[in-house]
Symmetry: C2
Subunit: 402 residues, 2 copies
């Protein structure tokens, strides 16, 4: 019998219990042993809950229980979750988590503690919800030099951008609606400012590189500046605006960023709408592969947590190695990153803009108070410098993907 404890009985935690209980037969068959949830750690009581009797308030009870083999950490945050994860790993219990914040911040340290205690730290659910992405990257694409990882990894913002695109609505209105129907949180900062996507690409790029790429170092722009007007321009250009989290590696130099991009239908990410996520991986032999599915949601995310539980159960008493050291790598190669930019400036600075930027194409959709154009290919640094010349005259800009 494999006994599991779940830390945190919120959305993903209760989903994890549900997956283990409802799919018990198939999971037990895949493990080769029965599986059960022995304890659920939460500060709250859950009177009347089906699993009320398994609720535990004291983490020590679980950590000191020799019958408990594996922990599902679905608490979130980097406080108690960090402390409890360490305690569990030090007690030789594998931990499977959906907590991207903790993985991005302390991944290598927790992986090392796991290796030192013959157990494992697994986090497939931390990126892309139910979509298998970490395991394919680590176990399947092992013959590849990974050249880039580029994805739509935040469902909330993709839902909002899709709504804005289809309905011509303004950002603020779509945000209110997303909050009303549960697609965005009361405090939506982590989603709309790109921090959530940033943590996820920090995890993926660290795994690809085998060293630590810190999320604080990744230039990150959210979608708060995107307006209904931008959507009109995007349509005129035959493109869609998507928030991309990307990592690229070329000639030993690396770059990562999170920002909205204008995509053409030639890019398979163009078709990823609503709350769906997709991660495109480019390898030097494979070309492009893409992994698509529900990037969030109670049961999809829980399914990925339990998939990790199955692997830990099959490797009971052993460490599943993960090549990610705490050596921090600086992403200093911003100047490598060159592309075209779509830019909107106030009509009053149109002449200055024409002088400052190498303009490839003017874009007109009938707004006479502004001047919009696509630049020729420019480096990030060059663009930044020219943009700063125009100061507040720049209304908005969005990067062009190819």
């Amino acid at each position: 019998m494999i006994n599991v404890a779940v830390f945190g009985y919120g959305t993903v935690g209760s989903g994890t219990v549900e997956v283990i209980m409802d799919n018990n037969d198939v999971i037990s068959k895949n493990i080769g042993d029965r599986i059960d949830v022995k304890a659920i750690l939460d500060l709250r009581d859950f009177p009347g809950d089906k699993y009320e009797s398994r609720i535990v308030h004291d983490v020590d009870v679980i950590v000191n229980d020799p019958e408990i083999d594996i922990i599902c950490e679905t608490m979130g945050g980097v406080g108690a979750a960090y402390k409890f994860t360490k305690m569990a790993l030090e007690a030789g219990k594998s931990v499977c988590t959906s907590n991207k914040e903790l993985v991005a911040l302390h991944g290598p340290e927790l992986l090392k503690i796991a290796a030192d205690h013959n157990c494992s730290y697994k986090f497939e659910a931390s990126v892309g919800g139910g979509i298998p992405i970490i395991r394919p990257l680590q176990d399947a694409l092992t013959a590849e030099v990974i050249q880039s990882v580029c994805g739509i990894v935040n469902g909330t913002t993709n839902y909002m951008l899709t709504k804005m695109d289809k309905e011509g609505a303004e950002f603020e209105d779509v945000l209110k609606e997303a909050q009303a129907n549960g697609y965005a949180e009361a405090d939506p900062t982590a989603d709309i400012e790109g921090h959530d996507a940033c943590r996820k690409i920090a995890i993926l790029s660290s795994l690809v590189f085998g060293k630590t790429i810190r999320s604080e170092e990744i230039p990150t722009e959210g979608i708060t500046a995107i307006s209904a007007r931008d959507m009109k321009y995007a349509k005129q250009l035959g493109r869609k605006i998507k928030l991309l989290a990307r990592y690229e590696s070329k000639d030993g130099k690396r770059y990562a960023m999170v920002a909205p991009f204008l995509l053409t239908p030639e890019n398979p990410l163009y078709f990823v709408d609503d709350v769906f996520n997709a991660i495109k991986v480019t390898g030097n032999m494979l070309g492009e592969a893409m992994f698509y599915g529900r990037g969030a949601g109670k049961l999809a995310t829980a399914s990925a947590v339990v998939g990790d539980v199955v692997e830990c159960a099959k490797n009971k008493g052993k460490n599943i190695p993960c090549d990610w050291t705490d050596e921090v790598v600086t992403l200093k190669d911003k100047e490598l990153s060159s592309r075209r930019f779509f830019v909107r400036v106030g009509a009053e600075v149109a002449c200055e803009a024409k002088e400052a930027f190498p303009i490839e194409e003017e874009v007109k959709v009938g707004f006479y108070d502004e001047f919009a154009f696509v630049t020729k290919v420019m480096s990030e640094n060059d663009f930044e410098e020219k943009k700063s010349k125009l100061g507040a005259g720049v209304i908005n800009y969005i990067r062009m993907e190819d």
Copy 2:
């Protein structure tokens, strides 16, 4: 040192050598040991080839070489490839293959021989070329009850259908062009009649079920009946025609088939064009996940072969288990399969058609010599029966996906 031998120095075989040599550093790092190609088995000589000195004509030399750990079988076919694979496995050498025909026909037997000799038989490259699909199904989606697997798994036919859709060309012309530029073989039967897709869905559905679903039992229709007119009707319906290979499981009953389907843009497979492949997996917790990429091609396929080599190298001397027994399962649940059908009949039998079929919608694109319509939901058996009443009056029919 891990020494590999490659059986068959054709397209995928030479790609396999190229991947191992060109990506040697990353592959060695992932294995944790150096890797080399010690021998290449082929009947031909390759004077002037970079690896000419490694060509071997006698399989015994390789099978009896204790220094060779792993075989890449990229010969194709079910004759010599079958015999040589058995010899290699019996000698305790793991075999990694792209040979879907052999896997579909003898998979469970070869898996058992591998298990009995502490080595492994791996075939990620047999479905979806470079796209990781078998490993995610087996190792990642282990908390799921898999309800369906549905994919575009043949690049040649998808390329042809995309051409017909975009250019309004006829089947025969597109086939000739595909043959001329190497996207279709001189004898295109296996692709255009759906046999290749059938073998692939036989492999995937057997793996999902853990027992053997024989490709001969899977109802298979190719794309030879699809015409430029069908493409016009598809456009009118807002759909695209795609050759789908599908497996469904519901209430303990199972069904598999290969046939052209009319897809709406709500289906992510709608956007999979040209030579790309994609496989959509539906689980009871996860919902839909899709795996997308190059389903064929020398290096992409070779990359999947070598990814399997890495796993075998990491498990040297051990069997990597695979739950697929030779117990044959009959797919007797055709009557479970119900859907709407798009049907074209000659104008002279329009009245009979209206009487025979429950018609939901007539479809008109300006051909007055025929009558086209969409039926209400019907079972396969019911449709078959009604269609046979009209005999040769039925010009063509295509299944509607949802």
